[in-house]
Amino acid sequence: MDFRFNEKEEAFRREVESFIKTELPANWTEKNIYWPGGYGTLSEFEEVNTQIEQFRRKLAEKGWLTISWSKEYGGAGRTNIEQAIFHERMSYYRAPGGEVATLIGGPTIMLFGSDEMKKEWLPRIARGEARFWLAYSEPNSGSDLASIQTRAVEDGDDLIINGQKIWGTAAHVSHYAWMIARTDPNVAPHRGITLLMVDNQSSGVTIRPLMNICGTHSFNEVFFDNVRVPKKNIVGEKNKGWYYVMVALDFERLVIPIGGFKRTFEEITEYARETKHNGQPLTQNPLIRNKLAAMAIEIEVAYMFFWQTAWMLDKGLIPNIEASVLKLFTTQLSQKLANTGMQVMGHYGPLERNSKWASLIGRVPAGYMDCISALVGAGTSEIQRNIIAMRGLGLPRP
């Protein structure tokens, strides 16, 4: 056992750190209210998009936008531990990085796409020129995803799409829908689903904003009205989309903003150090000390799950339990950290961004709202527990 990074890992960590410090726009942390684990406060939804574009281009030049990809496809060919190191540092600095195309779409195409599709799509994704949004959920298909109703019907060389998708995070700032649609309604639900890419600019696509409870426009409902898509946009084989989507879940395992928890905790701790109550710093109050220590402990446990998952992937082991636990645990942490922050800050906690008296740029009240999304998005906590129990512990199906 050795919990230290080896020389190569340590050198890479330093390289990532110095890159971020050099290239991230000045005062970046004051320009976004990103809360770790949340989906509603991503910096993409702020008025800093051109700066994000520049930063992403520089990441792309190093192959770091697609760090997990092999060099052949424009990636950096890094080990899972190195990817984890990268995500840890990036999230610590709240740096904008990958999205659906680089994290899910590209890797899926690599596994199941035709050679032609790989040639057409992978370089564009690696350069950051083809960004995807996840067109999975529908108004009547949330946790029961296989029940989707959006239809894709063949018509010559095309498919005609009709239906509605919802919770399309970043659909309005992306280029393509990474979509599952029903191509065969006469078989078991998960056997009639096809995975494909749909251009946002296609005729018949209507993107309507949904305001989240943080007050930002992060997700959308998207309507598809007789939208024509060339069949060559089908990933892999028709009717096998469900299987591809399940495999693709593996690619998201290390995309946990682990460093963001640490950073946010440090800021809340700093606040407690500098804030006096009855002439004493808050950090002298035993109850506050206990709460902060409890957070430090949980963050350290979360880090253990994080490194363990990366290490297992490098060993060729399948982190079934570990990956779901990592998601479950860190999203709960997101909520606990927000609550701790609010408790430490008392009356100042609820002061939102740009308020005259706001502290920590109003990140904590934003997080208090955004952490709600953490336990729901990308498989609710209950779905994670189902996976752990049935796939991990072998308990029988309900």
Partner: protein, 376 residues
């Protein structure tokens, strides 16, 4: 980064699990729990022959020269099988202290006997104030050539069967309570040593030990006069991590038992493990067990590598204490009424989880250390 056990450690783990399952069935556990000595001399000899007792002692003192991490692997399995007996007190509290502070003569005299299963030890630190800081050491040792010890030690594990008791006593009144404490090797049969077994929830054999004018020769000082505290602190750290490893093993066993029961027990014409309420309990349990294990091994690795580990140890103990409490409680919930019977085994784990939580400081105690280490 390498987060796996070595091949040797995997082998130790497997062979320990097999051996304990065979040699220490629950029937024996219960019998020993209710006995006054709390251990089986035959089993103790077998463990000595396997090299377990001297696992971390250097080879020249009859040991196997294993690492602290090896010991942690073994302790996890002992916790898994809830092995009763004086392994913890003899090896961790006694043996490691002698290894850390003993002179050559003391090491030569004690370590081979311990490793061979011929001598039992314990450490008498805590007193009725029930705290682990230096200021709580009120027991006094007075003298110049030989020493006379007077005082009451409380919550001392296995003192009732120990051949020697390592007694932490105050030898000098100093401004800082850390200064002026000394560790004495006291023969448990010395006149004036009075040991009373306490009946505890987990039937761990904790004792009251009264030192009434106990005479100890100078040569029985372990380490340096008045400078015992750094040694005590070092041993406490190792003991704290070691206790975490035992607890992780116990929680793992409770999880396995509960999951198996959830698969077997049928109600409403189907296994109760098919109900999501039960499945989610199990998912929460595995989250707690794995988290506790990872965080314990990180602390153990740091101790094993002799890296600064104050923060890691406190984190591990705070988390593991509470996580293992939650796990055994949920296990009880899954077992329902049958788990509330003496005949069932799960309560043995529930009791030990509580005992482990309290030993060497609970969550609140450890969080205070974490806060301090954070520089708050």
């Amino acid at each position: 980064m390498d987060l796996g056990l070595t091949e040797e450690q995997e082998m130790l783990k497997t062979s320990a699990r097999d051996f304990l399952q065979k040699e220490c069935p629950k029937q024996l556990v219960r019998q020993l729990d209710e006995s006054d000595t709390g251990y089986s001399p035959e089993l103790w000899q077998k463990m000595a022959e396997l090299g377990w007792i001297g696992l971390v002692f250097p080879e020249k003192y009859g040991g196997s020269g294993g690492s602290f991490l090896d010991l942690i692997v073994l302790l996890e399995e002992m916790g898994h099988n809830i092995l009763p007996g004086p392994f913890f007190s003899t090896v961790i509290l006694g043996g490691l202290t002698i290894m850390a502070a003993g002179d050559e003569e003391q090491k030569k005299e004690f370590l081979p006997k311990i490793a061979g299963g011929k001598m039992l030890l314990t450490l008498a630190l805590t007193e009725p104030s029930a705290s682990y800081d230096a200021s709580s050491v009120k027991t006094q040792a007075v003298g110049t050539d030989g020493y006379i010890i007077n005082g009451t030690k409380l919550f001392i594990p296995d003192a009732n069967i120990a051949d020697h008791i390592l007694c932490v006593a105050r030898t000098k009144k100093e401004k800082k309570p850390e200064d002026g404490t000394t560790i004495f090797l006291v023969d448990a049969k010395s006149p004036g040593v009075k040991c009373t077994l306490l009946k505890t929830l987990a039937r761990d054999k904790q004792c009251e030990v009264i030192f009434d004018n106990v005479s100890v020769p100078q040569k029985n000082i372990l380490g340096k006069l008045d400078q015992g505290w750094p040694i005590v602190k070092q041993v406490l750290q190792k003991a704290t991590v070691a206790k975490c490893a035992e607890m992780v093993g116990g929680a793992q066993a409770a999880l396995e038992m509960a999951v198996q029961y959830a698969k077997d027990r049928v109600q409403f014409n189907r296994p109760i493990g098919s109900f999501q309420a039960i499945q989610h309990y199990c998912a929460n349990m595995v989250t707690d067990v794995d988290g506790a294990r990872f965080i314990t091994y990180k602390a153990a690795w740091k101790v094993s590598e002799e890296l600064p580990a104050d923060m890691d140890i406190a984190i591990a103990k705070a988390w593991t204490s509470e996580a293992c409490g939650r796990v055994t409680l949920l296990a009880h919930q899954i077992f329902g009424a049958i788990g509330f019977t003496m005949d069932h085994d799960i309560h043995l784990y529930y009791r030990r989880a509580k005992a482990g939580e309290i030993m060497f400081g609970d969550g609140d105690f450890q969080r205070a250390i974490v806060a301090q280490e954070l520089g708050l």
